[in-house]
Amino acid sequence: MTERQISPGWIAAPVAAEFPELRVASLEARCVDPQSDPGVAERLGLLASRFNGRQAIEMRQAAVTAAYRAFYRQIGINPEEQRTPAERAALDRLLSGGNQPQGRVADALLLALLETGVPVYCFDPALVDGPVGIDLTKSGTLVLADDVQELGELFSEADNRFHASPKQRDLLLVAVGAPGVPRITIDESLWLAESALTGN
């Protein structure tokens, strides 16, 4: 097995000055098969079966989710209006009655999110030019970006032009760690997603 190399991302200077602990990291991965992996589906099922409404509310006090909620507030997002990724996954789980397998890529991202609380995004490496980081646009919006272009608004799912398609083999996994989230947790989210994709 080859060593998995996580690349630290860059943070634009004005953003780093405001949030010195904000982190972004990426990892290249290869999806062996677009179909859901039975092992990952089983793990998602187990995570769903141990979950109830009280936990969905109380997870806002969990260290990692609390860090994202605090960061959301600090950057002007109301986490009651736009839920943090982990809370949105919890709500989806309650509404759908379980974590339904949706293909290997979606399952891997969901597993990493549920296990660590850190959102992992999956980009098409052919569309990304250089390392991924967090930038500030002229209008003051925080975005994920590469060396030449904006890849989408931070924490927004609205713009998925650069996201990998579900059947794509080569992928670029990107994790965004809010201030206060330990580096090891961010790395773990990437490793988890990558191992779910490769089946190792």
Partner: protein, 153 residues
């Protein structure tokens, strides 16, 4: 760069914006955690709070941070007030239940739900006559807890 005036024990002194921003960001994070704790405390009830600012992810200016901090202070106060009022209603329900148990006949029109008491489930405490109409005529009353949620229709 804009400067602030902060009053401390030495009087009004200028302070640099960076430290003011840092302080506000820390306050906002702390208030968010407090608000989250109050929301968990309120479960299974949902707190109805005044809507807080919401927008795209951005670096907020000093004024926006202050507005948000003040709004969060207001929301925490609202949440605490709601919890105090809920506890007052529960206390009142417990008193009514106590009175019902002490004297079912005098309080036979009383109905106290588990929700009013802050207990899970759909049961209702009420006074019912022993032996049906006979008990009603003779004044034999007892306290009963209904078996729970009605069947879905």
């Amino acid at each position: 760069m804009a400067s602030l005036l902060i009053e401390n024990e030495l009087g009004v002194v200028p302070a640099d914006e960076t430290s003011a921003r840092r302080t506000l960001l820390l306050q906002i994070a702390g208030l968010e955690r407090t608000l989250a704790r109050e929301c968990c405390e309120a479960f299974p009830d949902e707190l109805e709070l005044t809507a807080l600012p919401h927008g795209a992810a951005r670096i907020q200016n000093l004024e926006q941070l202050e507005v948000l901090r003040d709004a969060l202070v207001g929301a925490v106060a609202e949440a605490r007030q709601a919890l105090v009022e809920r506890e007052r209603r529960r206390e009142s329900a417990r008193d009514r239940l106590s009175a019902l148990i002490d004297d079912p006949r005098a309080n036979r029109r009383e109905r106290i739900t588990q929700a009013e008491l802050g207990i899970g489930g759909c049961g209702v405490w009420s006074a019912v006559p022993r032996l049906g109409p006979m008990g009603r005529l003779m004044g034999w009353w007892r306290v009963k807890l209904s078996s729970g949620c009605p069947l879905a229709t």
